[in-house]
Amino acid sequence: MAVTVLGAATLLTVVVLVFIIAFVLVKGLPGVTWEFLSSAPKDMGKAGGIFPTLVGTVLLPLLAIAIALPLGVGTAVYLTEYTRENQLTRALRFGTDCLAGIPSIIFGLFGFIFFVVMLKMGWCLLSGALTLAIMVLPTIIRTSEEAIRSVPNAYREVSFSLGATRWETVLKVVLPNALPGIVTGMILGIGRSIGETAAVIFTAGSSLRMPMSVFDSVRTMSVHFYILAREGISNENAYATAAVLIISVLLINLVAYSMMHRFIAKRSK
């Protein structure tokens, strides 16, 4: 009896999820034409396409990852290869965990006051990317750390026995073997950045022009979708943008998960 209730609850959760995805795709896919994807918006988004936002949605997370990846992997390497568990590592991990729990609006506030206002960078790709990089940093650190930890110690020992230094071992043995896990973390980070709206609006702005440099403001798809929906500009375009958003996020998550599974399967052989 109780089991049926529990089963019903689980079923409800799955049904809701499937409904959300199906609803958006059904209402949005008809609007996703090649023209839609490749032309610029007209009339503040009422007509035309979403090409500049596609560019923004690709450039912003990529730039953010480019900043976060070296920092995150470096942190993970330091925590696993160069230190033993002590006060310092606990403090660093605590910092990472806390950073992970901060809501995106606070990141938006910080990015705004620090990058846009104080450093006078204005609303631009760079401000947005730096803010997103900090948001994504804990994810990169956690997944990289797991990936590095899963490299068998035997590999390191053989490398040392052949005369390699610690840094050489890290660079030539540990990191190449941890690469799939690190890439998974990178992909998850990109996925998260694509859906991020609050932090992006306050730092990258919402210009509909094509960005020509990192100091240009951009509008990402999620920001565009939000503006379309809230200002009631165009429901069809909103649904279509949402459909593109959802498909991108789903694809990215699928890729990340299948990589993770292959990585785990290879490891456990």
């Binding site: 109780a2 089991v3 209730v5 529990l6 609850a9 689980t10 409800l12 959760t13 799955v14 809701v16 999820l17 959300i20 995805i21 609803f23 920092l71 470096g74 942190t75 330091y78 925590l79 160069y82 660093l92 910092g95 990472t96 806390c98 729990g101 901060i102 809501p103 995106s104 609006i105 606070i106 938006g108 506030l109 910080f110 705004f112 006051i113 620090f114 900090i134 804990p138 650190i141 230094t165 610690r166 840094w167 890290v170 996925g191 694509i194 859906g195 991020e196 609006i201 999620s222 939000y226 929906a229 429901n235 949402a242 958003l245 959802i246 996020v249 789903l250 990215i252 998550n253 998960y257």
Partner: protein
């Protein structure tokens, strides 16, 4: 030559490793730097407990927003926590592993859907439904609670699943050996053992619900008023920050940062409590 490379590498890595901690401190410093002077100027009591929010004339009471955030978060937990915990229990204890391997990633996909999409669906599907059947404008505490409840489901499910999965099999076997039925062993033994992890998942989910901005802006109605019914439109703390930020200057901007300080502190406390509960359990 080699040794030089080695020390340089170690030095660089040490500096890099502080990037997360440094970012955290930077964020805390700047948010507090912008928000704290305001709170001291206006007085904590006036800021937190006055009901008038009218930045143009210098009124900065955020009481209605605090109450609204609390109601919406509470509502989200009422919906999300039972569903999530039930789902976690069912998946872990009563579902064959093969099925679970399909369903678990599916639910984690929920976590990847951008919050603005949830908000939009709330506006297009949920709000008209509420307006038609329960009255009011539709954009309301109820709508926000339902949408937020769905959004926190993945958090509750995944952390509760971890907690339940960490209960040693010997506990279950012991209960069954003593004659308990499957369900009895689950609710009298396994859940009790996983209790701290499950509570941690709820606290973490509360933090997420409190901090959610975009979805709430779209479905909660954004009226600055203390709600008297679940069908009343409200504005949460996060929505207040996001909506007013674009046009805020001077003291109004400082007020929004002060709101950010309040949010930051509360959510940090919630997360710290939840994480110590999770880690404490692991050390037993």
């Amino acid at each position: 030559m080699r040794l030089n490379c080695e020390t340089v590498a170690k030095g660089v890595l040490t500096v890099v490793a502080f990037s997360a901690l440094a970012s955290l401190l930077l964020i805390a410093v700047f948010i507090f730097k912008e928000g704290l002077p305001f709170m001291l100027k206006v007085g904590l009591r006036d800021f937190l407990f006055s009901s008038t929010w009218n930045p143009q004339v210098g009124q900065f009471g955020i009481y209605p927003m605090i109450v609204s955030s609390l109601y919406v978060t509470f509502g989200a937990m009422v919906i999300g926590a039972p569903l999530g915990i039930a789902g976690a229990i069912f998946m872990n204890e009563f579902l064959p592993r093969s099925v679970m391997r399909i369903i678990k990633p599916t639910i984690e996909l929920l976590a990847g859907i951008p919050s603005v999409v949830f908000g939009f669906l709330g506006v297009m599907v949920l709000a008209p439904f509420i307006r038609a059947h329960l009255g009011g404008p539709g954009l309301s505490v109820l709508a926000a609670s339902v949408i937020l409840g769905i959004m926190v489901l993945p958090t509750v499910i995944s952390i509760s699943t971890d907690a339940i999965g960490a209960v040693p099999n010997s506990y279950r076997e012991g209960a069954l050996a003593l004659g308990a039925t499957r369900w009895q062993s689950v609710h009298m033994v396994t859940i009790k053992a996983a209790r701290s992890g499950i509570i941690a998942s709820i606290i973490l989910a509360m933090g997420r619900a409190l901090g959610e901005t975009m979805a709430v802006i779209m479905v909660a109605g954004n009226t600055v008023k203390v709600p008297h019914a679940v069908t009343d439109p409200v504005r949460t703390l996060t929505a207040n920050i996001a909506l007013e930020m674009a046009n805020a200057t001077g003291m109004a901007r400082e007020a929004l940062f002060a709101t950010g300080v309040v949010l930051f502190v509360v959510i940090m406390i919630l997360n710290a409590v939840a994480m110590s509960a999770i880690k404490g359990r692991g050390n037993k």
